[in-house]
Amino acid sequence: MLAKSEVLAVRQASVSLSGRCILKDIDFALNAGELCGLIGANGSGKTTLLRTILGFVTPASGSVTIEGGGRAPVGYVPQKFVLDPYMPMRARDLIGLGLDGNRFGAPLPSRRRRRKVDEILEAVEAAPFADQRIGSLSGGEQQRVLIAHALIRRPRLLLLDEPLANLDLRSVAGIVALLHRVSREFQTTVLLSAHDMNPLLSVMDRIVYLAHGRAATGNTDAVVRTEVLSRLYGYHIDVVRVHGRILVVAAEGEYDAAAIERDPVHVTQVP
């Protein structure tokens, strides 16, 4: 069940795929307008968690609750986007489909529809390339278009799967700033996955740190600490802060699954 200000609540969710346990006892909740980073190495289960929240995957135990129930739209920017250069679609066409792509028939050209598309194009600063073919856009530009597509119905929750991967430094900064603005101005809860938390340090309200299928959740300062991550990983981890950046360094060690079973990690802190 959701507390009053909560938009998303994941309660003790465990997920298995093809017989393998991917996630165990994931537990966290997000309020409106919060920006949360889902951090973990490749293969740590970030995509699986996002897909579970979306309802594409059913947890073996636990629950996922989203404000608004099944009716409310959830925005989603997937990781692998079709870069087909032959797709005959301009940026504004794709964004328009975000509005009514699930309705039958062809969209009737209406001023209202065009205005909504133009509005969101302005909001994500994609207006300069609105009429270009999506396959010809750069990585950063495509991300903006996908974000616009996800946001045009003003969802309460926006999920992004590795939006910063394969982007150059300038585009990363731009997208992070955009997502921060979206969370504040639209009061949309933003949950994005990444394997490097550093670009997000200045904008993250919350962190969900995944390792070996388990999560440490809470405030960044409370979670990204040597003691917490070492317990999560099952062997000694050093968290080093240098010039405002965080490095997570693993010392030699064996993963101790039994220790985690006895003493599961769960950190929350009231901000």
Partner: protein, 300 residues
């Protein structure tokens, strides 16, 4: 102007009855194939589109010999095959092609059996060849009304499925998030392809069916930026190629002393050359390259 026209067009072209039927039916097949074909190429289902033509034409020949309404045999066979293709769960395009091929092989084997079970072998081979290579100048009038109906039906179906189909074709996840039943849309779409292909195979032959489905759409997709434009362009290119091919075939009767080139060859040649030219010269290619600036990737 009249002199130029008479140079290109041999006498009797505009008054010939078979030519008129061919122009109408061929044009209709080109339009339906072009519209449906745009989505086929976008979704990477060219193999399925071709395979359906193969199977349905073989099935049609079998139906003919079994005394079943041949058009019914065509349509039924292709819808059955399309359904089995979509029912098998696949996650990669290459696996989907594999399933397409396997189902096609089984279907063709079945067709071989049905063709064999009829006693007269000479009519078997004749029917198989006619059905596969087709002849637009020999379309029986009885097929025309049903052909037009199914053709219009296919266009209407595409119109209805337009938005969800487009969204599914761009990215199935984006569609699923908006509540679009992705697998159902895929199945319905492939059935529409099956009907369109079966129909054009019956009227213009299996070879032309594939050529009209894939060729004009592929050319249009290299040039058009918007889905609506791509669809209109594909239909237009298909019609131009078809009518041009009919003209060429008709004229060739004169050049080659009454023998003539088959219409299917003429149309396919036009489409092939057009695509090859567009591909080789990179027409519209500047739209296909991603912008160089801002595309450098950062490690990690």
């Amino acid at each position: 102007m009249a002199a130029l026209l008479s140079l290109a067009v041999e006498p009797g072209f505009f008054t010939s009855e078979p030519v008129r039927t061919a122009v109408v039916i061929g044009g209709a097949a080109a339009i339906v194939s072009g519209v449906v074909g745009v989505f086929t190429v976008i979704r990477g289902q060219s193999f399925a589109g071709h395979a359906l033509a193969d199977v349905s034409s073989a099935g049609g020949a079998a139906a003919l010999l079994l005394g079943i309404n041949p058009l019914g045999g065509f349509l039924l066979m292709s819808v059955l095959v399309a359904t089995s293709m979509e029912l098998v769960r696949v996650d990669r395009a290459s696996e989907r092609d594999l399933v397409t091929g396997i189902v096609t092989g089984a279907g063709l084997g079945l067709a071989a059996l049905l063709l064999y079970l009829d006693v007269t072998t000479s009519s078997t081979t004749g029917a198989a060849v006619t059905v596969m290579f087709g002849s637009m100048f020999a379309i029986s009038a009885s097929i025309v009304p049903l052909a037009v109906t199914v053709g219009i039906g296919a266009l209407l179906a595409i119109g209805v499925l337009y938005r969800p189909l487009l969204l599914c074709s761009v990215d199935p996840d984006l569609a699923a998030v908006q509540g679009v039943p992705v697998r159902l849309i895929g199945l319905l779409y492939l059935i529409v392809v099956a009907l369109a292909v079966a129909l054009s195979a019956v009227t213009v032959g299996a070879i032309l069916s594939t050529a009209l489905l894939i060729g004009p759409a592929a050319i249009a997709l290299r040039v058009a930026n918007r889905p609506g434009v791509a669809i209109l362009l594909a239909a237009a290119i298909g019609v131009v190629a078809t009518w041009g091919g009919i003209l060429l075939a008709y004229d060739s009767y004169e050049w080659s002393g009454g023998h003539g080139w088959p219409v299917s060859f003429c149309i396919v040649a036009l489409i092939f050359v057009a695509y090859a030219v567009v591909a080789e010269t990179g027409l519209g290619r500047q739209r296909l390259e991603p912008l160089a600036a801002g595309n450098a990737t950062q490690a990690g």
